[in-house]
């Protein structure tokens, strides 16, 4: 296949393609072939790709990944003990993107399929290979899909645990998740993306979510990968009339992480809440990229992202809001605030509003700052040492986002994760 000049080398070429299992399913084989024709000529996005300007992939491209399905020395027999236990939840466990029935629970009200039983029309209907290079990479090498279909109200919380594990060589995997909620259905989904210590891993998941009219999805995603691991996730969502989605993305580690969420409003009075919090240290890099597309009138979207950065870490927030000419009475808001714990970290924030309708309410805000000296003195005057005071203030800063999680159990669990991160990190050194 033809390659454009000046492309960076990467491990996802012909050798990689030969090592990964060829799908028996003809539909999938064709789908993969089409995607590779899109991915190959462009490869991984470089610094000239506007959407990837702040998130260079050079470090990823240098790692000699093999497809996880070709690694025969990976043995995971249990969920790692550090993974949050959510009372009253049912678990779905994936290891390197592959559904593990032996580690998973059955869940009432959720039908679980592989690609065989799934609605074929859902595959690639939202996250097209042409729309995002990492979705194209996923489609080029996906070995299957996990489809969740919800027809009514699901009382239990569904906890999807995705474990990345390498053997003697770094592994990459490209899972595809298809979630569809029928009209009026509701689901609370928690996703934990974690890894085991060892060789580097690269998770490249794509999730396609379809909500029917009046459906309600709460999706809480936490990414806590190993320090040397990569996680580049793409989520594409379509909202029908009167449907509601509450998304929350927590980022607490990983060498290079991107959580990209693209939402399109397809029916009037759909409501989106999309929030996130992150705490980065060391050389962590975490990128939140959102694109909210108001195609129809009368929908609302609200985003609040807050992060703290320490060490030499790098946080990125790119938020695009598109309001089409017909999308009158749109209410779209976004906010990103970051707190620096030292002079080493870097933040890039890029709000992008494209508004073609005239009767709309749109607002965006961005701010960065440091811990308030008056707050520190007040706490000191009450006997609280500087390290503890910083922890309290950082937690308080992130609480503004975390408190938007409507599920109490998840809110408390994510809060504990943040506390854990803060107490592990020595904040004493912060300026």
């Amino acid at each position: 296949m033809k390659r454009a000049p000046g492309l960076m080398d990467h491990p996802f070429g012909a050798d990689y393609a030969q090592r990964t299992l060829a799908p028996a399913d003809k539909h999938l084989a064709g789908f993969r072939e089409q995607a590779r024709a899109v991915f190959e000529p462009h490869g991984l996005p470089g610094p000239k790709n506007e959407s990837w300007r702040f998130t260079p992939l050079r470090s990823l491209a240098k790692v000699p990944f093999i497809p996880a399905d070709a690694a025969d020395d990976v043995d995971v027999s249990a969920v790692p003990p550090g993974v949050v236990s959510l009372p009253g939840s049912a678990r779905i466990v994936l290891v390197n993107g592959v559904y593990r029935r032996d580690l998973s629970d059955a869940i009432e009200g959720v039908e679980i399929f592989g690609l065989q039983g799934a609605d074929r029309n859902l595959l690639g209907h939202l996250a097209t290979a042409a729309s995002a290079p990492l979705a194209a990479l996923n489609a080029s090498f996906m070995t299957g899909a996990l489809a969740l279909r919800v027809n009514g109200a699901v009382p239990a919380t569904l906890h999807l645990i995705s474990i990345a594990a390498a053997g003697n060589q770094p592994v990459a995997f490209h899972p595809r998740l298809l979630i569809s909620l029928a009209p009026g259905a509701s689901l609370t989904l928690v996703e934990t993306h974690c890894g085991l210590p060892g060789q580097a891993t690269f998770a490249n998941p794509v999730t396609e979510i379809t909500l029917g009219e009046d459906a309600h999805l709460r999706r809480y995603v936490q990414v806590a990968e190993q320090d040397d691991s990569f996680h580049l996730a793409t989520t594409a969502v379509a909202l029908a009339a009167n449907s509601r989605m509450e998304g929350f993305h927590l980022g607490l580690g990983g060498a290079l992480v991107r959580q990209e969420v693209n939402v399109v409003m397809r029916g009037t009075a759909a409501a989106l809440e999309l929030h996130g919090a992150y705490a980065l240290g060391g050389h962590d890099h975490h990128d939140f990229t959102t694109s909210v597309n108001h195609h129809v009138p009368g929908c609302t979207s609200s985003q609040v992202f807050k992060g703290v950065v320490d060490g030499e870490s790098h946080g990125v927030y790119q938020g695009r809001i598109h309001v089409a000419r017909d999308a009158q009475k749109t209410d779209a808001r976004q906010q990103h605030k970051a707190l620096f714990l030292g002079r080493g970290p870097q933040i890039d924030c890029k709000p992008e509003l494209e508004i073609y309708a005239d009767d709309v309410q749109c607002a965006h805000g961005a701010a960065t700052g440091e811990i308030d000296a008056d707050h520190m003195f007040f706490l000191a005057a009450r006997g609280i040492d500087p390290a503890t005071a910083r922890m309290l203030l950082v937690e308080a800063f992130l609480a503004d986002a975390v408190e938007r999680i409507s599920d109490e159990t998840v809110r408390a669990a994510f809060g504990r994760d943040i506390q854990g991160w803060l107490s592990r990190r020595n904040l004493k050194a912060a300026a």
Binding site: L379, A380, A381, G383, I384, P386, T388, L392, L393, A396
Partner: protein
């Protein structure tokens, strides 16, 4: 030995000398009032004892139980028993009053080698004290000082003082922004804390507060120096005649 000893204290901010040799000695059980016109160094005195950054101590010392206060960081001073009730208590969004109080109590307990307060004990203690101060039950669930009225903020300061049991409490213009009812409640709270082994330094512009918190000693601070000292009657005299005669003398 005095509980708090301020000796020949000189303090500058930048090139400007604010305090020009303060001497004060507070014994256990005493309430000292420091009065003075605006801009005379009252807040500098309270801030420098509590350890706020931005002040240069150029001469002199402050001793708490004979120990050098300036050798301690602000949080160490607080754990050693110095409490500053702020003129303008800061609002801290996202930090609940209860978790703040618990953290402060435990910081002090840990420093004293005691075990941390347990959740039940804490709730019982706080409930009893908030009730005595006429505070709403839900106040401790709210973020610290956020959306509190002036009166609520000062009550919260007295609550903190009550829970932290300081050796020396410094009240920096506690009366500012208070109506007469709130002033009475706050004063009652302070008076309930008067003990033989505790001293108070009450800094105020007006005599009014001293009707409720009756001082043993009154000092007039003008242009960075103590221009006069006396008993509680000195406060009444200042109320009637103003600071003019001391300002003239000091100039």
């Amino acid at each position: 030995m005095a509980l708090l000893e301020i000796k020949n204290l000189h303090v500058s901010v930048g090139d400007r000398e604010i305090l020009k040799g303060i001497n004060l000695s507070l014994n256990g059980g005493e309430v000292h009032a420091v009065m003075g016109p605006n801009g005379t160094g009252k807040s500098t005195l309270s801030n420098v004892i509590a350890g706020r950054a931005g002040y240069d101590v150029t001469q002199g010392e402050v001793l708490l139980d004979g120990k050098d206060v300036f050798a301690m960081a602000a949080d160490e001073r607080a754990r050693a028993g110095i409490f500053l009730a702020f003129q303008y208590p800061v609002e801290i969004p996202g930090v609940s009053t209860s978790s703040f109080l618990k953290t402060a109590i435990n910081a002090k307990r840990r420093a004293a080698g005691q075990k941390e307060i347990d959740a039940m004990e804490f709730l019982k203690l706080v409930k009893a004290k908030t009730k005595a101060l006429g505070m709403a039950d839900d106040m401790i669930k709210r973020p610290l000082n956020v959306g509190f009225s002036g009166g609520e903020k000062k009550r919260a300061e007295v609550l903190q003082m009550t829970l932290l049991e300081p050796r020396v409490a410094i009240l920096d213009e506690t009366d500012s922004g208070l109506d007469i009812d709130a002033l009475k409640v706050v004063s009652d709270g302070v008076n309930a804390l008067r003990r033989e082994d505790r001293a108070f330094l009450v800094i105020t512009h007006y005599q009014r507060l001293l009707d409720y918190i009756v001082p043993d000693h009154v000092h007039v601070l003008v242009n960075g120096r103590i221009a006069a000292s006396g008993g509680k009657e000195l406060a009444l005299e200042l109320e009637a005649e103003g600071y003019a005669k001391y300002q003239g003398a000091a100039a």
